[in-house]
C-alpha cells in the first residue's frame, strides 16, 4: 500500500506540467513586427492557455498560446495589405474576435511593436460547468458525512472529472472540464512538500515522549490547583499546535490529559475541551500551524514571519479569553478534587517520560535551524517547503531511524488527498464557478474593505463548522485573490489573514468542524467520556464567537489602524 502511494506521488512529480507552449503555425507569408497583448477574465485574472490566432484576409497567418500571466506575442505579416483579425478562443470562455484598426496597422507599418490594451474574455457556462460544480459539491458532502474517507472522496471527484472530460466530451464537447495536463497546472508542490517535510519531523518528535512529559510537568507544577493546570495544558497544546500541527498535538496530548484527569478524579472534558479549542486557535499563528495556513501561505506568498507578526498577537488575546471562558464553564469541575491515588500517580509518572532524549535534543537543534530558516529564509527566496525538506532530511541523516518506519509515519493518504483536491478545485476554477463566487462576494462587499474583512472572517468561520476547511480554503483562495486585487487597501493581503482566521477558528463551532476535534472525541470516548455533537456545540459555539470576534477586532486594528 505504501509503495502504491509513493509511486503515485512520484508519477505526478515526474510528469512535468505541460504548460501549453507557444505553437506558432508556419506562416505562409514572411513575418513582420510582433503584436503583444494580455488576456484577462472579468475578475482581472490572467487567462492562460488561450489560443490566439491571427487571420489575414480570412486566412490563418499565425497562432500562439497565452502564457500563465495571460500575455501573448504573435507575429504580424510583413505585408499589411489585408484585414487583420485576432481570434481568441479558450474552453469555458466565449470566443472573441478583434479586428485590428487602421491605427494599429499604421503602427505596424512604422516597425513598432504593437501593445494591445487588455482584452477581457467572457466566461461561457457549459455543461461541463454544471458537472464540475456537482462533482465539487459531491466531494464536500462525501467528506462532511464521512461516507467516504477524505482521500477516497477527493480521488473519486478527481476521477469523475477526468472521466467526464475524456469520455463525456466524446459524447458532447461541452462536457469537457479539464484534462490531465491542464490539471497538473493546479498542483501546488510547495504545499505537498512542506506538509511531507513537516510530517517527517513530527514523526521523530512524537516518539520522544515530550508531550507526555510536558503534560505531567504541568500536573506537578500546578500541585493540585486545577484552575492553574488548565491554562498550563492550554499553553502546551497551543505551542504544539503552532509548531507542529493540531491533530498530532491532540493525538499526543489527549491520552495523557485523560490519565491526569482520572488521577485527579475529575471529568477529563474539563481539560480536553479547552485544549482542543486552543489547538484550533493557536495553529493560526504560524505558516505551518494548520494545513489551511500552508495553502494560504503558498498561494499568496505569505511568509512565516508575516503570519507570526500579523496573527500571533490576536491569537494570544483570543487564547487568553478562551482560558477565561473555559475556566468559567468548567468552574464546578475545577473546584472538585478527590483524593489522588499514589499508585495512579506513580503509574502516571512511569509513562510520562522522555523515552528518546538523544533524538529529542537532535530534533531540538534541527528545529531551531528550521525556525531560523523559516524566519530569515524569505530574504534569500528560500521557500518553506525546501526548509521543511532540508530539516527532515537533516534529522533523518543525523538520527538514522528505521527508514521504512519513517516512510510509514508519513501520512501519504493526506498527501494524495491534497493532490486530488487541487485538481477538483482546479476544475471549478477552470469552468468559472470560482469567478461566479468571486463576483457574488464582490457584489456583496463592493469597495468596502472593512465589510469584506468581516464577511470573509465570519462566512469562513461559520461555513467551516459544516464544510471541511481544507477544500473550502482551497476554493476560496482565487476568490480572495480577486477581492485583494479589486478592493482598495486590500493589497496588504489582509483578506488572506481573514480567511486563515475563519477557516481555522471556525473549527471550534462544531465537533465535525476540525479533525483535531474528531480525534479528541474518539480518544475521549474510548476512555468512557464521550463528547457528543450537541455537547461540543454548546461549549464550542460561544468559544467560536469569542475567539473569532477577538481576531476580527485584532485584524481590523492591525491593518486599518496600525497600518
Amino acid at each position: 500500500m505504501m509503495a502504491f502511494f509513493v509511486s503515485l506521488i512520484m508519477l505526478f512529480i515526474s510528469i512535468s506540467p505541460s504548460v501549453a507552449q507557444a505553437n506558432d503555425a508556419k506562416p505562409h507569408l514572411s513575418k513582420g513586427v510582433p503584436i503583444v497583448g494580455v488576456l484577462k477574465d472579468a475578475q482581472n485574472q490572467p487567462v492562460s492557455r488561450a489560443t490566439v490566432t491571427l487571420y489575414k484576409a480570412s486566412k490563418m497567418f499565425a497562432r500562439t498560446t497565452s502564457q500563465p500571466n495571460g500575455s501573448f506575442t504573435i507575429p504580424s505579416p510583413a505585408e499589411l495589405d489585408g484585414q487583420l483579425i485576432l481570434d481568441f478562443s479558450r474552453r469555458h470562455f466565449q470566443m472573441q474576435k478583434l479586428t485590428l484598426g487602421q491605427d494599429v496597422l499604421d503602427q505596424l507599418r512604422t516597425g513598432c511593436v504593437v501593445e494591445l490594451p487588455e482584452i477581457i474574455l467572457k466566461r461561457q457556462v457549459t455543461a461541463g460547468f454544471w458537472v464540475a460544480t456537482l462533482i465539487f459539491v459531491l466531494v464536500l458532502v462525501l467528506i462532511a458525512t464521512g461516507w467516504l474517507h477524505n482521500t477516497l472522496a477527493s480521488l473519486f471527484g478527481m476521477s469523475l472529472i477526468f472521466a467526464v472530460t475524456y469520455i463525456g466530451s466524446l459524447i458532447h464537447p461541452t462536457l469537457y472540464i479539464l484534462n490531465f495536463a491542464e490539471a497538473l497546472n493546479y498542483l501546488d508542490w510547495n504545499v505537498i512538500f512542506l506538509i511531507m517535510g513537516m510530517m517527517m519531523v513530527i514523526a521523530i518528535v512524537e516518539n520522544t515522549g515530550i508531550f507526555q512529559w510536558l503534560a505531567f510537568a504541568a500536573y506537578k507544577i500546578s500541585a493540585g490547583r486545577l484552575w492553574l493546570l488548565l491554562p498550563i495544558l492550554v499553553i502546551i497544546t497551543s505551542v504544539g499546535s503552532a509548531i507542529l500541527d493540531n491533530v498530532t498535538t491532540m493525538l499526543l496530548m489527549t491520552p495523557i490529559t485523560v490519565r491526569i484527569a482520572l488521577t485527579l478524579r475529575i471529568n477529563p472534558l474539563a481539560f480536553l475541551i479547552p485544549a482542543v479549542m486552543a489547538s484550533n486557535v493557536a495553529g493560526v499563528s504560524t505558516l505551518v500551524g494548520t494545513p489551511t495556513n500552508i495553502l494560504i501561505g503558498s498561494f499568496a506568498d505569505i511568509s512565516f514571519n508575516d503570519f507570526l507578526i500579523n496573527q500571533t498577537p490576536g491569537v494570544l488575546i483570543a487564547i487568553l479569553c478562551l482560558v477565561i471562558y473555559t475556566e468559567i464553564i468548567y468552574r464546578k469541575d475545577l473546584k472538585k478534587s478527590g483524593k489522588t491515588s499514589p499508585a495512579l500517580v506513580e503509574k502516571l509518572a512511569e509513562t510520562a517520560k522522555i523515552t528518546q532524549p538523544g533524538n529529542l535534543k537532535k530534533a531540538g537543534w534541527v528545529g531551531l535551524g528550521m525556525l531560523i530558516l523559516f524566519v530569515f529564509g524569505e530574504h534569500i527566496h528560500l521557500v518553506p517547503s525546501v526548509t521543511a525538506l532540508m530539516g527532515a532530511t537533516a534529522l533523518l541523516v543525523w538520527i538514522r531511524p528505521d527508514i521504512e518506519e519513517m516512510i510509514e509515519a508519513v501520512d501519504w493518504t493526506t498527501l494524495v488527498f491534497f493532490i486530488a483536491l487541487f485538481i477538483v478545485v482546479g476544475s471549478i476554477q477552470e469552468v468559472g464557478l470560482i469567478s461566479l463566487i468571486a463576483d457574488f462576494v464582490a457584489g456583496l462587499v463592493g469597495d468596502n474593505l472593512i465589510l469584506a474583512m468581516v464577511v470573509i472572517i465570519w462566512m469562513s468561520a461559520l461555513l467551516s463548522t459544516v464544510i471541511a476547511n481544507i477544500p473550502f480554503t482551497a476554493a476560496m483562495l482565487p476568490v480572495i485573490a480577486y477581492l485583494t486585487a479589486t478592493i482598495p487597501g486590500a493589497d496588504t493581503k489582509v483578506l488572506y489573514f481573514c480567511l486563515s482566521v475563519g477557516a481555522a477558528m471556525g473549527g471550534n463551532g462544531s465537533l465535525i468542524g476540525a479533525s483535531a476535534n474528531m480525534v479528541t472525541a474518539g480518544i475521549s470516548e474510548r476512555a468512557g467520556y464521550p463528547i457528543t455533537y450537541l455537547y461540543f456545540l454548546k461549549k464550542g459555539m460561544p468559544a467560536l464567537f469569542i475567539t473569532v470576534g477577538i481576531s476580527t477586532l485584532w485584524l481590523l486594528f492591525r491593518f486599518l489602524v496600525l497600518n
Partner: protein, 148 residues
C-alpha cells in the same frame, strides 16, 4: 476453573458495570478478568500516519483504566486480572472468553459511538445471546445507574 470477564472502557458509565462484576465475583467467589480493547477506528477517516504512536498511547490509557478497575477490585477483596487487546471490542471479548473458558460475562448498557452504535436493550440482548452461543458463558447485564 470458571471466571468472570468484564470489558471496561472507563468513565462513569463503566462504574455500574464494574460494580456488578465485583458483586458477582464476591457472590460466586470467582476471579475477575477486566478487559480493555484498544480500538483505533476513529483514526481511519482522519489520518493514517500516527497509528503506531497512538496505538501505544491508547494502550497506556487502557492500562491506566484497568489499573483503576483492579485497584477497585482489590479494595473489596476481589482477585482481579487485567487484559489489554486491540481490535473490535465484541470480537476481542468473545476471544478472551473462549481462551479463559469463562463462566460469566458482564456487559454494560453503555452509549457507545466508537463502534458506531448506541447499545439499546435490544442490542445488548442480541450481543449477549451471541456471546452465550460462542462461549457458553452466562451473560449478566449491569443494572442502569446514574448517568454522568
Amino acid at each position: 476453573m470458571s471466571s468472570i470477564v468484564c470489558a471496561v472502557r472507563g468513565g462513569p458509565e463503566s462504574e455500574n458495570t464494574i460494580k456488578t462484576a465485583l458483586s458477582l465475583a464476591r457472590e460466586k467467589g470467582l476471579p475477575l478478568h477486566f478487559l480493555y480493547v484498544v480500538n483505533l477506528d476513529f483514526l481511519s477517516n482522519v489520518t493514517g500516519g500516527h497509528v503506531q504512536t497512538v496505538s501505544k498511547e491508547m494502550r497506556e490509557l487502557g492500562k491506566f483504566i484497568l489499573e483503576m478497575a483492579v485497584t477497585q477490585a482489590e479494595e473489596v477483596g476481589v482477585q482481579a486480572i487485567s487484559h489489554i487487546r486491540q481490535g473490535k471490542v465484541h470480537l476481542q471479548l468473545i476471544n478472551l472468553c473462549q481462551e479463559l473458558r469463562t463462566g460469566y460475562v458482564v456487559l454494560g448498557k453503555t452509549r457507545q459511538r466508537g463502534e458506531g452504535l448506541r447499545q439499546p436493550r435490544r442490542f445488548v440482548r442480541t450481543y449477549g445471546e451471541t456471546i452465550k452461543a460462542e462461549t457458553g458463558a452466562e451473560v449478566v447485564v449491569a443494572s442502569e445507574g446514574d448517568e454522568a
